[in-house]
């Protein structure tokens, strides 16, 4: 299970919506299973079908995590026209099996957000719990 503050959750979804119809992406900071901060990042592919997180955004997020005594615990990206489910591209390029992978889908009128763990090519959906308390 992954938990996320409602403000962080809304920031994540809004950052994806702002980039629509292009794929958006960002970095999840927190501790263990709790996201405490969302850092939207530039998709340097500038594409509606693929994304690459700006490496410099990863650098700054890592520094921020160290400063906050947190860690990068996952990443998110949007699927503009497909389901909130990891694509073969997502699975083949998983950078860290300990991270959470959050998908924001705009296939339907209401954004759909789902979280996954991906280990050795195996995709496991995990509940995403949005909390009402504010952390950022």
């Amino acid at each position: 299970m992954i938990t996320m503050d409602v403000v962080a959750y809304e920031k994540m979804v809004a950052s994806c919506l702002r980039k629509y119809p292009l794929e958006a992406c960002g970095i999840l900071l927190g501790t263990l299973h709790r996201v405490t901060r969302v850092e939207p990042a530039t998709n340097i592919e500038n594409s509606a079908r693929i994304y690459t997180i700006d490496p410099k955004a990863m650098l700054f997020a890592d520094r921020l995590a160290e400063e906050l005594k947190a860690e990068i615990i996952g990443v998110y990206h949007s699927h503009t026209h497909s389901e909130a489910f990891p694509s073969p591209t997502d699975v083949s390029q998983v950078p860290d099996p300990t991270w959470y992978y959050v998908l924001v889908s705009f296939k339907r009128a209401i954004p759909e957000v789902r979280a996954y763990e991906i280990v050795d090519g195996k995709i496991t959906e995990t509940p995403l719990v949005v909390e009402s308390s504010k952390s950022q």
């Binding site: 794929e23 992406c25 592919e45 594409s47 079908r49 693929i50 994304y51 690459t52 997180i53 490496p55 410099k56 990863m58 650098l59 890592d62 520094r63 160290e66 860690e71 990068i72 990443v75 990206h77 699927h79 503009t80 026209h81 497909s82 990891p86 694509s87 591209t89 997502d90 390029q93 950078p95 860290d96 099996p97 300990t98 991270w99």
Partner: protein, 92 residues
Amino acid sequence: MAHVRLPTVLRPSAGGNSSLEVNGESIREILEAISSKYPQFVSQVLTEDGELHKFVNVYLNDDDVRYLEKLETKVGTDDRISILPAVAGGME
């Protein structure tokens, strides 16, 4: 000694450390110094040809070493090195 920050994915190959203080005059020497203590580390960051894996980005302070002198980039004692995974994917 340079301060080397490690991503979570590489920590199991580096004694579980999130950062290390390492002696070395270049990025290559720094990576070799870590690998001499933690032999599993080298294959996580370097190819068999001794080059950086494409899915790893290494920063010297604010600069990607691929745009400097790559592994031969000089490192000073107060420099900060960040090793980070490249993150990509998409619906294709």
